[in-house]
């Protein structure tokens, strides 16, 4: 699942650049599951923006919280509307919006970058802004905690790395074993981070499969990662004669 986290309010407010009629659009998919961008969080962002606007108004009139306000001020009166659809990465769901995009100067999307990008492609006349930083593909390891497990590199190696991803979990995405910075199982980048290659070694040893590490393998296809530009997936059996949206 895609994991994302809320951007700081200041950054969001600055990106709004004084636009007045704002639609905060939640996504009921991955970002809802990681509790960052579902309907509830979209509403919460809406409330925060309204408060920031109130503070800004007061600041303008020299109010009590003026000193504190300042940075978060979206610049006077704004109209905030909140909506949410099932997923922002599928065109059909946009038909379920309760509001008409025409009525807004800007859409603040609480989807991951996919939602923001796809909406921009679908509605080129609109300004679509991100409210989240899309962070990683991860799992919910404990209530309230998510962790990265995969990088989406396009050429999966988990079969011979004992299920531990060196691309996602080694700070340098090394593919041929640990670097000199490995330190008693920890990564030189941070004492809190496990060395991925240490984990791989340990795991394969437990499995009695250290042989796998000695095998010669063809050079990695980094082109499947970002090397050849935008990646696409095609299932010919599902294709129809409709135009592909960029």
């Amino acid at each position: 699942m895609i994991v994302a986290e809320r951007k700081p309010l200041n950054e969001i407010v600055q990106s709004l650049a004084g636009r007045k009629r704002v639609l905060v659009l939640g996504c009921g998919g991955c970002v809802a599951v990681c509790c960052s961008g579902g309907e509830k969080q979209a509403e919460l962002l809406g409330e925060q923006l309204k408060l920031a606007a109130q503070v800004a108004c007061k600041a303008a009139s020299g109010g009590e919280e003026a000193a504190r306000g300042g940075t978060a001020a979206p610049g006077g009166k704004v109209e905030i509307t909140v909506d949410c659809i099932t997923r922002q990465c599928d065109r059909e769901f946009f038909a379920n919006m309760k509001h008409d995009l025409k009525d807004f100067d800007v859409v603040l999307s609480t989807a991951c970058g996919v939602g923001v990008g796809y909406m921009t492609a679908l509605y080129p006349e609109k300004v679509i802004l991100p409210a989240l930083n899309t962070t990683f593909y991860g799992a919910n390891v404990a209530p309230g905690q998510w962790q990265e497990f995969c990088h989406g590199c396009g050429d999966c190696v988990l079969a011979w790395t004992g299920g531990v991803c060196p691309i996602a979990r080694c700070s340098k995405s090394l593919i041929n074993g640990a670097c000199g910075g490995t330190n008693h199982g920890k990564c030189e980048v941070s004492k809190d981070m496990d060395c991925a290659w240490y984990l791989i070694y340990k795991r394969l040893k437990e499995l009695g499969r250290l042989e796998d590490l000695r095998k010669m393998r063809p050079a990695r296809q980094w082109s499947k990662d970002r090397g050849k530009g935008v990646r696409r997936l095609t299932h010919e059996e599902l294709m129809q004669d409709t135009e592909v949206q960029k």
Partner: protein, 667 residues
């Protein structure tokens, strides 16, 4: 658990979110003969909203004050709390609320226009008065004729004052009459006026609600002695005059509640010894267990499994009752069919006998009318249409139903009104018996997690003191006890419902629920029979996919906005129901004017609720929670702490002082 799921579209299309409550009822409501919305009125009471509580009670139950004292409370007998610790004292909460509010404190909702047909009602008992009220609310013009000089029926004429003070009855009568019910007392239909006369006076329909006005007697040798008293005459005389002819050694024949009332009344009139004799063994006696206990506490003895054969009279005085042994009361088919051992006959000494073996109808009202009696001497009557042999004359209450309770008589009166309304609007009389299903027992695994709170007892007068007067034998709750008792209610059936199309299957509900209720297969399901309605899941669900059956979505935010609309810039306090009406939290805040908003528990307050209070103009928000372990839901305090922290940091991010949201945890 009920079948079928709820989508957000269906939810949006509901006329009112409260319609969800109709999917399944709590068992208290289901088993109440008038189906009073117990959960709802107890919730009002728990929050100190006593006015709203009495209005909700009276929506279904006109005899709220009377039933607060004397109802046999089938609601309590079916309360799900019984499997946690003990049933909620629903009747005592009702009694507190009804008598605190009185007639003036109950809202009168009169029909906009009362210009429909005139309807005459015979008898101002529970059945007749309940019917009159509903007729008036429908716009009819009801007149109730009562042969006694006051309204109330058996509760006013026979139920002893130590159980039901007369001023309590008046609360209900006054409130009912305020709806445009005309009451004519001291007029006996069949004697002072006939049904035909009523019709001639312009009444389009007549409803007979004359109850059971005569005592059954046994044709025993000696039974014509003046100190063999028919129970109703005896109780009615006491009720009117606080006196009645009686001996020193009283034997009450009968084992039901009426017999207990007669026995306890005889004690209060000064009898030296009072005993009850009945066919049944103690466990078979129809009198409620609590009635028997109270009687025994006052020194009344039971003689079980004896049937009277003869009243022994010597030189004009009763000396005893000859009684034979009863070998069985009920046959294999559980039908009343007593058998005796004539070889085992004893004499029970006494100088006075009260016959309390049942009541029967007095058909005097029918004189000079088309209303006929059936072969067994009862009013000819259709339980389907409520009509007698005269289609314009209807009947309800105990005159046509098996003997029961005041609340059942009210229910019968209310149903009769539906029939009369159909009749008078020229439609076929067809009444539906359909009710929603009720939720089942609480599962032991869930019941264990519910915080135990002992039932609040009512104070009772000690037996030695109470048995010499007709003063009440027990006392109303004080406010603190009423609140505490009401807060024991688990809000059954008012819990969470998943909007399946919105659910992302994120498992948040499953992780936050302190009772382990939600299950998530592809989407979440919440078994309403198990849900404790704490609201934790709804407060956290990232997709707003969980709604409450008992509260509209965003209820708290809406209520808060309504307060702030008239007076922005005020302080709002979200107060845990455990602290309703408690002054103590005010002492610690130093805020002069605070708008109190009560919640059942802070468990259901979301971060969004907190922010929206400020958006809507609250100058600051106080969240008043219980201290750890005192909240009705496990870990509610932990959750609210985390949420308040999040809310503070979010408002700070927006440029506000984080101190504008404050949490207080009170001991």
């Amino acid at each position: 658990m009920r079948d079928g799921s709820l989508t957000s579209k269906q939810y949006a299309e509901l006329a009112s979110p409260a319609d969800l409550m109709q999917r399944e009822w709590a068992p208290c409501r289901y088993h109440c003969p008038v189906h009073a919305d117990v959960r709802a009125y107890i919730e009002h009471a728990a929050a100190g909203r006593f006015g709203a509580a009495i209005d909700t009670i009276r929506d279904n139950l006109p005899f709220a004050a009377i039933c607060g004292r004397i109802c046999h409370h089938p609601c309590e007998a079916n309360c799900r709390r019984e499997d946690v610790d003990s049933a909620l004292a629903i009747r005592e909460v009702k009694r507190f609320v009804a008598e605190l509010q009185g007639a003036k404190g109950s809202t009168v909702r009169k029909a906009a226009k009362q210009d429909k047909a005139k309807v005459a009602i015979i008898g101002a008992g529970p059945a007749g008065m309940a019917a009159a009220l509903d007729l008036a609310k429908l716009g009819y013009r009801p007149t109730v004729f009562e042969k006694f000089p006051f309204a109330g029926g058996i509760p006013a004429t026979a139920i002893p004052k130590y159980r039901l003070p007369r001023e309590v009855i008046q609360i209900d009568i006054d409130w009912i009459c305020a709806h445009g019910v005309e009451l004519v007392t001291g007029v006996e239909i069949g004697k002072d006026k006939s049904i035909e006369q009523l019709k001639a006076e312009g009444f389009s329909a007549v409803l007979v609600a004359a109850g059971l006005a005569k005592s059954r007697m046994l044709p025993l040798p000696g039974a014509d002695h003046p100190l063999v008293r028919p129970v109703l005459d005896f109780l009615q005389e006491i009720s009117l005059t606080e006196k009645s002819a009686i001996g020193q050694d009283v034997l009450v024949i009968g084992g039901g509640n009426v017999a207990v009332d007669a026995a306890r009344s005889a004690l209060r009139l000064g009898a030296k010894r009072v005993r009850m004799m009945c066919l049944e063994a103690e466990a078979e006696m129809p009198a409620w267990e609590w009635e028997r206990t109270e009687a025994r506490e006052e020194g009344i003895d039971f003689i079980n499994r004896r049937g009277p054969v003869e009243i022994l009279v010597k030189s004009g005085k009763i000396t005893g009752v000859k009684a034979r042994k009863v070998t069985r009361v009920f046959d294999e088919n559980k039908r009343f069919n007593p058998q005796y051992d004539d070889g085992d006959v004893t004499t029970v000494e006494c100088d006075c006998v009260v016959m309390a073996i049942g009541q029967m109808a007095d058909l005097g009202f029918a004189r000079g009318s088309n209303v006929k009696a059936d072969a067994r001497g009862r009013v000819e009557f259709s339980p389907v249409t409520f009509q007698t042999s005269d289609p314009a004359v209807f009947a309800c209450g105990e005159i046509v139903t098996p003997p029961g309770s005041a609340v059942e008589a009210c229910a019968s009166g209310q149903r009769a009104v539906k029939a009369i309304d159909l009749f008078l609007s020229g439609r076929a009389i067809r009444l539906s018996d359909e009710l929603p299903p009720f939720i089942g027992k609480i599962a032991p695994a869930v019941g264990e997690k519910v915080r135990q709170v002992p039932r609040n007892k009512v104070a009772t007068a000690d037996a030695a003191g109470r048995k010499s007067s007709f003063e009440p034998v027990d006392f109303n709750y004080v406010e603190a006890a009423a609140l505490c008792e009401a807060r024991r209610c688990m809000g059954c059936g008012g819990g969470a419902e998943v909007l399946v199309d919105k659910c992302a299957g994120c498992l948040t509900c499953l992780r936050v629920c302190p009772f382990g209720i939600p299950k998530v297969a592809d989407v979440a399901t919440i078994d309403s029979a198990l849900c404790q309605a704490c609201g934790m899941c709804a407060a956290e669900c990232p997709n707003n996919a969980i709604v409450s059956r008992s509260k509209p979505a965003r209820d708290l935010a809406t209520r808060t906005a309504a307060i702030l609309k008239d007076k922005p810039g005020q302080v709002i306090a979200y107060i845990c129901g455990q602290h309703a009406s408690a002054e103590k939290w005010k002492a610690i805040t130093e805020v002069p004017e605070v708008n109190e908003v009560y919640v059942t528990s802070t468990a259901g307050i979301s971060v969004n609720d907190m922010l929206s209070a400020l958006v809507n103009g609250a100058s600051s928000l106080l969240v008043i929670a219980c201290h750890e372990g005192a909240d009705r839901y496990p870990n509610a305090v932990g959750r609210i702490r985390a949420r308040v922290m999040q809310a503070k940091s979010l408002i700070q991010e927006a440029g506000l002082n984080g101190e504008r949201i404050k949490l207080f945890e009170l001991a």
